[in-house]
Amino acid sequence: MTSRRRDGHRGETLRFRFDGRDYEGLRGDTLAAALLANGVRTVATSPGLGRPRGVYAAWTEEPNAIVQVEHPFPEPMLQATTVELYDGLVARGLPGRGVLADRPDPARYDAVHAHCDVLVVGAGPAGLAAASVAAASGARVILADDRPVAGGSLPDTAETVDGVSGAVWASSVLAGLAGLAGPGGPADVRVLHRTTVFGHYDDNYLVAVERREEGAASRERIWRIRARRVVLATGAHERPIAFAGNDLPGVMLAGAARAYANRYGVLAGRRAVVFTTNDAAYDAARDLAAAGVEIAAVADVRRGAPARDGLEVLAGHVVTGTAGGSDGSVASVTVAPAGSSAGSSAGGSGRREIEADLLLVSGGWNPVAHLFSQSGGELRYDEALSAFLPGKSRQAVEVAGAARGVFTLAGCLEDGAAAGARAAEAAGFPAAAGRRFDVAEPEPMLPPEALWLVPADDYTTHFVDLQREVTVAGVLRATGAGLRSVEHVKRYTTAGTAHDQGKLSGVLTSAVVAHATGVEIGDLGTTTFRAPYVPVSFAALAGRDRGALHDPVRVTSLHGWHVANGALFENVGQWKRPWYYPRDGEDMETAVLRECRAVREGAGALDASTLGKIDVRGPDAAELLDRLYTNMMSTLKVGSIRYGVMCRADGMVFDDGTVIRLAEDRFLVTTTTGNAAPVLDWMEEWLQTEWPSLRVYCTSVTEHWATVALAGPGSRAVLAGLAPGLAVDNASFPFMTWRDAEVAGLAARVCRISFSGELAYEINVNAWDGLTLWEAVQATGVVTPYGTETMHVLRAEKGYPIIGQDTDGTVTPADLGMDWVVSKKKADFVGKRSFSRPDTARPDRKHLVGLLPEDPSLLLPEGAHLVADAGLPEPPVPVLGHVTSSYRSAALGRTFALALVRGGRDRVGDRLYAPLGDGGDPVPVTVTHHVLYDPEGARRDG
């Protein structure tokens, strides 16, 4: 295949492979440019209809040329128009859907937070002018541009500024920015290339993605930028027109063909027809003709269009259809006078079929108002330009250049400079904008005319959204079904929902809906613009926050020992807790049964360091706790411990734990592992917002302590051996008291607390002494380490609920059978008033009960529903409750469960059924009291 490269356009040769064939391109090409240079016209196929699809645009607005990159790393759904060519690239065209990589991505992605006085988005003529004026004022400036090189459309149009080519002028502006002096060094100006600002959020928080060059420390980088002022110089997208066969390869936006000719030196075809509503296409036609493309004719819908540049101008004409050649791409174009019965196959007078392999389309220009709209700005419809322009802004935003409908080069430069000056001044930096630029521009000919679709009898190949294959016929089906809002039509037809997010199809869809429903497009408006402006990879958004860095991991000071001794771990919040310690050949069930037996029959040790610990201190500490706990804490004696429950104001259990009184004005409160932070927040909220007169400080001390729970009938002897100075007999050291003592030679606070029903101690030492203590306990040789699973089984046998597992925010203390923890003496505490609400006082609320499956080896799944009858009625089946905890018990010699059951305490002894959803019959279970082991509490004193 012969090269379509213009004479004199040279560069480093790069080899690449597309659809299994080898090609060569030049450094600086996009994949689309390189494919066109090699004469590849069909790049992909449409996803549903399988129609051939070529390159339609030249940058991020491309709807058609969707490729999958296979090498160096698989990436689906990329636009060939934005993929920078590199040596060794392997890609293939896609029928709309790609394939995710089947291997981990070895690349690194990262993020930077940045602040500036003025953020300029877009380094075209307006953006460069804005950035240079703002930077010269001394403002901190970030200029973010999505292209590899600055200049915006200047390399596409080959226009000159101040007597030099646009590309040279852009380089000189950047050199000027780099050379600016600030206080004590270079000015604080940052230029980001290949960086697409894709989201504009509240308070000028903008997020961009930078595609970094080969060799950089990361592949892509997310920029999170907070700017005092923003200048949006985002340019404009040329607009397609809906006509029959407007999707064939060879149909291309006029400005795109101009860009391929001027920026990449690539001729997109040999003989072209131009279809336009405005002057811009003439500039494209002139440049293409100069590059060697034969311009067969210009169909200009404007009746007064004069001949120009030696072109054959068909004034008042439209394109009514295309015909594809053997490869499916454009072979001829049919034109006809506008308003004739153009669509009928019979044709009207003046209908002509013109041989051409390229059809250049220009339906006018849509300002890129995406970020402006995302920022909360309102769009208004401009009749003269037949375009939606930025109107009232909600944030500190300036819009400059083509993005606000200024379509001349001189206008963009002056508009950008003025916007840069306004932004800098608003940020507190007086700036001067009054510079004139020397540019040469063609004389304007005629104002543009609005033309959205070419009328026809058959609209089934008038494509509105090329990627989603939405045609005018499809939009008319939507309006015919009664849809009037563009938002509804978008969702009914899917127009605008592809990877390009309707950059070309959005306004066209509005226009077709307006046409069909007989309203003005300005009144109809557009669909809402939402981030991201371009597709962004999840990997980039995740950045370094993946794998081990996804969430902080908290480990106790004993963690190394647990790892070395084969523990498996359970995640509890951010904590890693030992789950169980399997010995050789043990599965989880065997290991847990062994650990449970060891605690019930001898002694076990659990790392309980993760329990939340809050130091509550001050003259009013007891008063605060009285107000927050359901039971009385002020009567607790120094040296003693009380179990307590906290409720929300609605009376539902929020957390539980123990309260240790260290002194008259000082308590140590423990919380569940997962709730340590919420409980501290809860205390602070009440102290700050309701009871600021209370003199109390609350301090998190969770990580100050290592805690070893020593449990089982053998634990007293173990403790006595480790703490010879501590009187451990029951009279000297009764249940629910604490003592300071030396344990294993370490300063320790020992609490007689039990979460298993057995005689038990919690030994607290400085966190850095934790391992010493644990190893001393293990060195006795009689203590079995146990994990959270055994802890859960043992507490469940005793009917102790786990807040958050056996409760779900709809459970009161009474529902848990814990009336005893609710004070009758206190006038008020948080939650008290709610206990007498009619719904909370209902007798048939769900109660915590025990369940014994009739098959003692059957382990009920947690979450299983409970119903009254074995024979399930037709749905909806009345559900009485659900299983909250379920285990095998060594002590009971069988399985058991805890459950929340409607009126459960009145059902003790009843048989219920658990449908397991496995196709079998619901399994029978017997309701029991929730305390299944040692109900008289005989074991806690050893």
Partner: protein, 93 residues
Amino acid sequence: MLLIPCPWCGPRDEAEFHYGGQAHVAYPGDPAALSDEEWARYLFFRANPKGRLDERWSHAAGCRRWFTLTRDTATNEFGTGSGNGSVTGGVTA
């Protein structure tokens, strides 16, 4: 992402804050004296205007202080022109 004016730390990213809902919903002085309906109103009923609302925020990842400010729920503008809710620290009784 909102830039929230913490009265103690200055403007900071929304991610550092915890939202506390409508402000000036004081805990009743004597809950026992309230009817069930009055208590339910305290528990469950909150304003949901399109427009200015006095809100509680806590600078959870900063100074950890609660404060009240006014936000326009339609535009996310803070504080401006409110009759009763410019930024205040401390108590929101």
